[in-house]
């Protein structure tokens, strides 16, 4: 079974995502980005769901670290954001996110189809930081 890690400090949001995901995927919950980053590499996680507004290390910093880590670089990483406004999409993608889901999650189908899409996509080949572009 595919395994998802969610980094979200709001317990209601974690509970909601768990209810939506149900038995479809395994779900690991983290409140802090630093805890998640310390574990996801060893735990065989297939996808990261990251809240943007986190205490200590925010979601933008989490995704930067994921992309800078050779072992995690290819992990599909999806932002959970309440700031779903024009221009945010580009900002999130530029920071390294693959996709985003707007909060509050009012339509569980949107979350499920986003998860399914990224979990069924072969890992994207990301160039190592500083490596020459593939020819």
């Amino acid at each position: 079974m595919k395994r998802i890690a969610i980094i979200e400090d709001n317990p209601d949001n974690r509970l909601l995502v768990r209810a939506i995901v149900g038995d479809a995927y395994e779900l690991d919950e983290y409140e802090l980005g630093s805890d998640a980053l310390a574990h996801v590499g060893d735990d065989g996680v297939d996808l990261l769901l990251v809240d943007i507004s986190l205490p200590e290390m925010d979601g933008m910093e989490v995704v930067r670290r994921v992309r800078a880590d050779a072992a995690l670089r290819h992990l599909p990483t999806i932002a959970l954001t309440a700031h779903a406004m024009a221009g945010d999409r580009e900002r999130l993608l530029a920071a390294g996110f693959d996709d985003y889901v707007a909060k509050p999650i009012v339509d569980e189908g949107v979350l499920l189809s986003t998860l399914e899409r990224w979990l069924s996509t072969p890992a994207r080949r990301r160039p190592a930081a500083g490596a020459p572009p593939a020819s």
């Binding site: 209601d12 509970l15 909601l16 209810a19 939506i20 507004s53 309440a82 009012v106 569980e108």
Partner: protein, 113 residues
């Protein structure tokens, strides 16, 4: 309160999910309010922004629209670095939480019956 929000949760996970969501909210939200109050007293705009952002999000899930709006306004003033306006929102935020809590507790009693 927006009844549609709770109905949506009920469709998703039945009365059990509704009960647990309210339970988690009633446990977590007071901590966010304390954090917001403390941040306001220390002119800590970032702390006020984070606390109000969390409240906005949690209130939104449960359909506590007035609390959501109050939290959203506080967050906007914190984003705008307006300490006076953030401070001015604190009372409204606490009042709207009290209203939301009463309604959610009543909801819990209905679910329990």
């Amino acid at each position: 309160m927006d009844p549609e929000a709770l109905q949506r949760l009920r469709r998703l996970g039945g009365d059990d999910l509704v009960r647990r969501m309210i339970e988690v909210f009633l446990e977590d939200a007071p901590k966010r309010l304390v954090a917001a109050r403390r941040a306001v007293e220390m002119d800590d705009l970032d702390g006020a922004r984070r606390a109000s952002h969390s409240l906005k999000s949690a209130a939104g899930i449960l359909g506590a629209r007035e609390l959501q709006t109050a939290a959203e306004r506080m967050e906007a003033w914190a984003d705008a670095s307006d300490v006076e306006q953030v401070r001015g929102m604190m009372h409204e935020l606490e009042t709207m939480f009290t209203v939301a809590r009463a309604e959610l507790e009543a909801q819990q009693r209905r679910v329990a019956e």
